[in-house]
């Protein structure tokens, strides 16, 4: 029953994503769709660290920005194929994330956040002042990956599908990790790092691996965005605001669920575009964003998806225990096991009776 509804849900989601470009009334809406998809990729990539380990990075914009610049500079200076450049850019950023991760994950919590914010501020300084290489504050123009015959709306459509494909890969990777031993170890770190360590989870290596994977996907997201948008400015690439969007989206949707960041990205991305449209250049979108983040942190730290599913569970038949198997199943298993070994008959019978009662 559950798996059927899950399959239907996935199908609806896939159809909705695939059909969006043909349903969008004009290129502007389509471009908003691309932006939201880009946010979804970034938020899902962020969730490799935030969701699994509970380490909240406010500075993931440094990896998306680095990915964007790495892709752009590779395309400009080496005339590589743009898609190869994007992948290579992701790998470069992943390699850079190793020393950063080693420095910031050595201490728990607070230092990690401080380093993540510091990274964005450093990179902003460096990319603004290192003008001859990065274009400095004037920005950097990125050559388009498709030739001139492909018009704007067509570009938006192609990039929408490319972002959707990247999102699908990231979601698949998240899902695979979620089910693996590695993922279980990461979640153990999130719940109680000391206990995880004493149970033999190699916590530091696990955290570092998750961090590097996250940086890799974030960089790919940044690179793809750079190829679509065609222009990079350090102020917008290395902005704490972008990093905090990723956090807000993931938290709002629910960092423990696969589709949480995607849902959050749709809601927050739409809201951001709406506010920018309505209030233009005023700083009001900062206030709205701050209030929303504060409300989520105070009242819904687990996100929408867990809140909704617990609401749904109220209308489902009450579960008998926290186990996946019911007490009856368990008693049946014990009986067959004891029949096979035919020892301790009396005690298992008593146990199973107790369970059935």
């Amino acid at each position: 029953m559950r798996s059927v509804s899950r399959a239907v849900g996935l199908l609806v989601l896939a159809v909705a994503v695939l059909a969006f470009p043909s349903l969008a009334p004009d290129p502007f809406i389509l471009s908003v769709g691309v932006v939201i998809m880009s946010y979804a990729v970034l938020a899902t990539s962020w969730n490799f660290v935030g969701g699994f380990t509970g380490y909240i990075s406010l500075g993931h914009a440094s990896y998306s920005g680095l990915g964007a610049y790495a892709t752009a500079l590779l395309v400009i200076h080496t005339s590589l194929n743009p898609w190869v450049a994007m992948l290579l850019g992701g790998l470069v950023v992943a390699a850079l994330a190793v020393p950063i991760g080693i420095a910031s994950l050595r201490v728990r919590g607070a230092s990690f956040v401080i380093v993540s914010i510091a990274m964005v501020l450093i990179l902003l300084l460096v990319f603004q002042s290192w003008g001859e290489f990065t274009g400095g504050s004037n920005g950097l123009r990125v050559p388009r990956p498709f030739d001139e015959s492909v018009l704007r709306p067509e570009q938006h459509e192609r990039f929408f599908y490319l972002h959707a494909a990247l999102l699908a890969v990231a979601l698949l990777a998240w899902w695979a990790i979620d089910r693996s031993r590695f993922g279980t170890g990461l979640k153990a770190i999130r719940e109680d790092e000391d206990k995880a360590q004493s149970l033999g989870v190699p916590t530091f290596n696990y955290k570092l691996t998750a961090f590097v994977i996250s940086a890799f996907f974030t960089a790919l997201g940044g690179g793809l965005y750079a190829l679509w948008f065609g222009f990079l400015d350090p102020i917008f690439q290395f902005s704490i605001l972008v990093g905090s969007y990723m956090v807000l989206m993931s938290l709002l949707g629910g960092i423990r669920s696969l589709f949480g960041p995607l849902l959050g990205a749709v809601i927050v991305g739409y809201a951001v575009e709406f506010f920018k449209n309505q209030y233009g250049d005023t700083q009001f979108h900062l206030v709205a964003m701050g209030l929303l983040l504060g409300l989520v942190v105070l009242f819904m730290p687990d996100g929408i998806i867990p809140a909704l599913s617990s609401l749904l569970n109220r209308f489902r038949p009450q579960a008998a225990s926290i186990r996946e198997v019911s007490a009856g199943d368990l008693a049946e298993q014990r009986r067959t096991a004891s029949a096979a070994t035919s020892t301790d008959d009396e005690s298992t019978d008593r146990l199973s009776e107790g369970a059935q009662r």
Binding site: G54, G109, A110, V115, I117, I122, L125, S244, Q283, L293
Partner: protein
């Protein structure tokens, strides 16, 4: 030589302001294990209030302290009681970062909304004055800012060391459970500790408004160095924060001669990374810093 000496003096003056602000950040971390991102946003808010006070009344911005310090103290207590203490203890460190971050965004947005993004500066009759100190030319406003910071830091030190409240506060920082056992109301003390921390932002902001141009997004330029200072000093150690602030302020000022202002800023981040690599608990931090 005189250029070097000038930078040295300016570095000490800057370090004093850093030390005061970092002391506030350390207080929050000590009492609540909270990394208060909004500290520098409150700093800019106080600077704006001082500017607004002076342009409206024509009085000296230092007089605005009479209003802003109590106001910020109460705000700090309320913030701790109404916002921070509501968070779940298990995820407090991470969630408090986000909560204070959202407060910082709201403050920045409101400042931009109310006062617009225009750069502001207080014009004072003594703005241009400077005095000659052993060949170094030091602006009077910088000296006033430093004196303000030094006096407040001294007052903070006296409060923490000599009063009963200070003793209770230090007990709460060192071991909350034990403090509760001997009858200290740690919740109330934590609230006051928060208020005290925010008061440093009020004083720092007024000092800042005296000699620099302010704009709403300025707080991002302050929070990075301040965070680096408290990590280098060792999270939770006020003397550590003050020493690190002095050293880094001095370093920044001296590096400005060969490198220019932008690259000199990176000193803080280099120090931050070096500290985390070599001595993650910070150079002056004790038991507290190890765990966080």
């Amino acid at each position: 030589m005189s250029l070097f000496f000038q930078s040295l003096v300016l570095g000490v003056l800057l370090g004093g302001l850093y030390a005061l602000l970092a002391a506030g950040l350390t207080l929050y971390f000590g009492v609540m294990r909270v990394v208060m991102i909004a500290h520098s946003a409150f700093l800019i808010l106080a600077a704006y209030l001082a500017w607004f006070f002076t342009t409206e009344t024509g009085l000296d911005p230092l007089l605005s302290l009479v209003v802003t310090v109590p106001l910020f103290f109460v705000t700090g207590v309320l913030m701790q009681r109404l916002l921070i203490s509501r968070l779940r203890p298990a995820t407090l460190t991470m969630m408090s970062v986000l909560l204070t971050f959202s407060v910082a965004l709201v403050i920045e947005g409101m400042l931009g909304f109310v006062f617009s993004g225009t750069q502001r500066r207080i014009r004072l009759p003594y703005s241009g004055d400077s005095i000659d100190l052993f060949g170094a030319n030091i602006a009077v406003v910088k000296l006033i800012a430093f004196a303000l910071a030094a006096v407040s830091l001294g007052a903070l030190f006296l409060i923490l060391k000599k009063t009963q409240f200070g003793q209770a506060l230090r007990a709460t920082i060192q071991h909350p459970d034990a403090a509760r056992l001997i009858g200290i109301n740690t919740d109330r003390i934590a609230g006051y500790g928060f208020g005290l921390g925010l008061s440093t932002a009020a004083i720092g902001g007024t000092a800042l408004a005296l000699d620099s141009t302010i704009y709403p997004s300025l707080h991002w330029h302050w929070i990075g160095p301040l965070m680096a200072i408290i990590v280098v000093g060792g999270l939770g150690s006020i003397p550590g924060a003050a020493i690190a602030a002095m050293l880094l302020g001095l370093g920044q000022s001296l590096l400005q001669i060969p490198l220019g202002t932008t690259w000199a800023q990176t000193l803080f981040y280099v120090a931050l990374f070096a500290t985390l690599m070599v001595r993650p608990q910070g150079f002056f931090g004790g038991r507290l810093a190890q765990r966080f």
